[in-house]
Symmetry: C2
């Protein structure tokens, strides 16, 4: 089975409109703008080299979907670019594409094309996702206003713990919970419509809560005042916090959460009943201020992930 | 200088609309469809590991632009995904981005975003290019009709020779000519409007003339009859053919040409005066038939490039 056979057998089923041409042709409905985002994950850097085919597929697609959600966009199509260290095995391809098919159905997106290559190095998956948003309604990092409440859609920190579990740095009975948080983030596309209508700014937490909140602060020219007691952590994470195996600072700077952080005016707060109010944006130098359980200002040696 | 500083200093100048958000928001003019294509180039596989920053930039972007041209699309924006083996040096980044700026101006495209990552392996550049085409006018591989003439926009084979020169397999006084063909293909975007109006099918020659012509044959359900004497080769390539250092079969199957191959009805042939008529599509089993200089049928042990 050569490259073309692999594409026809395994990747064509992801692409209901075919993979026959040099490029895909996509119609954009009137009144919609296109939202475009890319994320690359490399084995050994972004996920353990022994990660399963399904986990790589889920994470590769979902981190992009999370970016679409943060923009208030609805998923449309994605380009799948895969670099393989050697010819991929049928079993691996079956599991990889089955996971993509499941996520395509779950999140309403299809594969519009991509490229399959060889690399003298680790597996690399680079996805560019396309979304649609009503014209003029895309969310940015720069729209937060003085007095807006800071919302967090979900608990943070589980993915960081998941990575430490995978690296055998932490042992816990909740290992599966944390590994799932690491490999299968849940992009909050269900929030997109409500965010478009009522939020002033949004971002997805990929670099860590502190770093991504700082992005909104810089974009919007505001200070963020956050109360640690209001930040949601999962019950399994709280157990590890209580036992001292992880710190709050770890969980606020670890990244890979792929939850949404957004700014909402106070009078619209009741419209986000499932999300968590963790603080408030206020006039001031663009910086993140977090009060710990005792009321003291927290400081962070590193605010989040960077590649170099 | 950390990752964010590198992005701000070197990549932000490529992106006139900013890189501030999780995704780019692009307007699509009414009556236009979006054309999307991706190509990944990995050091050591798609270009020599010691290739210059400028050469990698030119080739990475232009191979995508060639796909847009083959669809009859006008360039719009591109996502730039780079995986670096180590933190890139300032000098490398300056030359890489200067080459992209030059091509952005030459071809009318801008960077809409992307991702910059680390990889425990070779440099990888994966670009997804977006183009626009009047609705319903995109070209495909499947529209060729019985009797259409087969057109080739430019000479083929120079890039294959360029690769052999780079690999020190061929020595020639025209080395620079061939290396430029390999690293700086000229995407024929200037033909896009004319192709939309008058061509029935098109493809860019990336896998090799024989392989890509076979793609049109399969897509359109036609046989292709080609006369080797009509296929254009550059004067430097002809010199190497005459001296026996390369064969016609090499030049027809080498790939990396990024010229356009297209089907035009005979009565429209005068509208493509700069392109070369190399044969004709006719009813028959989808296959490529090439007559050599003596009139005998050529056969090929390999029809073109595949990754595995």
């Amino acid at each position: 089975m050569n490259e073309f056979d692999v594409i026809e057998k395994y990747f064509l089923p992801l692409a209901p409109r075919g993979l026959d041409n040099d490029a895909a042709v996509l119609d954009i409905p009137p009144g919609r703008e296109l939202v475009v985002t890319s994320d690359t994950l490399n084995a050994g850097t972004h996920f353990p080299a022994d990660a399963s085919a399904a986990d790589i597929a889920h994470k590769g697609l979902r981190v992009n979907l999370s970016d679409l959600a943060a923009m208030g966009a609805d998923p449309y199509a994605y380009q799948l670019n895969l670099a393989f260290p050697q010819k991929p095995e049928a079993n691996w391809l079956e599991k990889f594409t089955a996971a993509l098919v499941a996520d395509q159905e779950a999140f309403g997106i299809f594969c519009s094309g991509g490229d399959t290559t060889r690399i003298n190095g680790p597996l690399s998956i680079s996805i560019t996702a396309l979304g649609l948003v009503p014209a003029g309604q895309a969310l940015t990092r720069s729209g937060a206003q003085d007095g807006d409440l800071i919302f967090l859609s979900d608990a943070v920190g589980d993915a960081l713990i998941g990575l430490r579990v995978l690296q055998s740095e932490i042992e816990t009975a909740d290992a599966d919970h944390f590994k799932a948080a690491y490999f299968k983030p849940r992009p909050r596309l269900d929030l997109a419509e409500n965010l478009r209508a009522h939020a002033h700014a949004a971002i997805d937490v990929s670099d860590g809560l502190v770093a991504d909140l700082a992005h909104i602060c810089r974009g919007s020219g505001l200070a963020a005042h956050v109360d640690l007691t209001k930040i949601p952590f999962s019950a399994p994470a709280q157990t590890l916090l209580d036992s001292g195996l992880v710190s709050h600072a770890d969980l606020l700077t670890g990244g890979d959460d792929y939850v949404l952080l957004f700014a909402v005016p106070e009078n619209k707060a009741p419209l986000f009943p499932q999300s968590h109010i963790i603080g408030r944006f206020q006039a001031g130098d663009p910086a993140v201020h977090i009060r710990d359980l005792s009321g003291a200002a927290m400081s962070f040696s590193s605010t989040g992930w960077t590649h170099f």
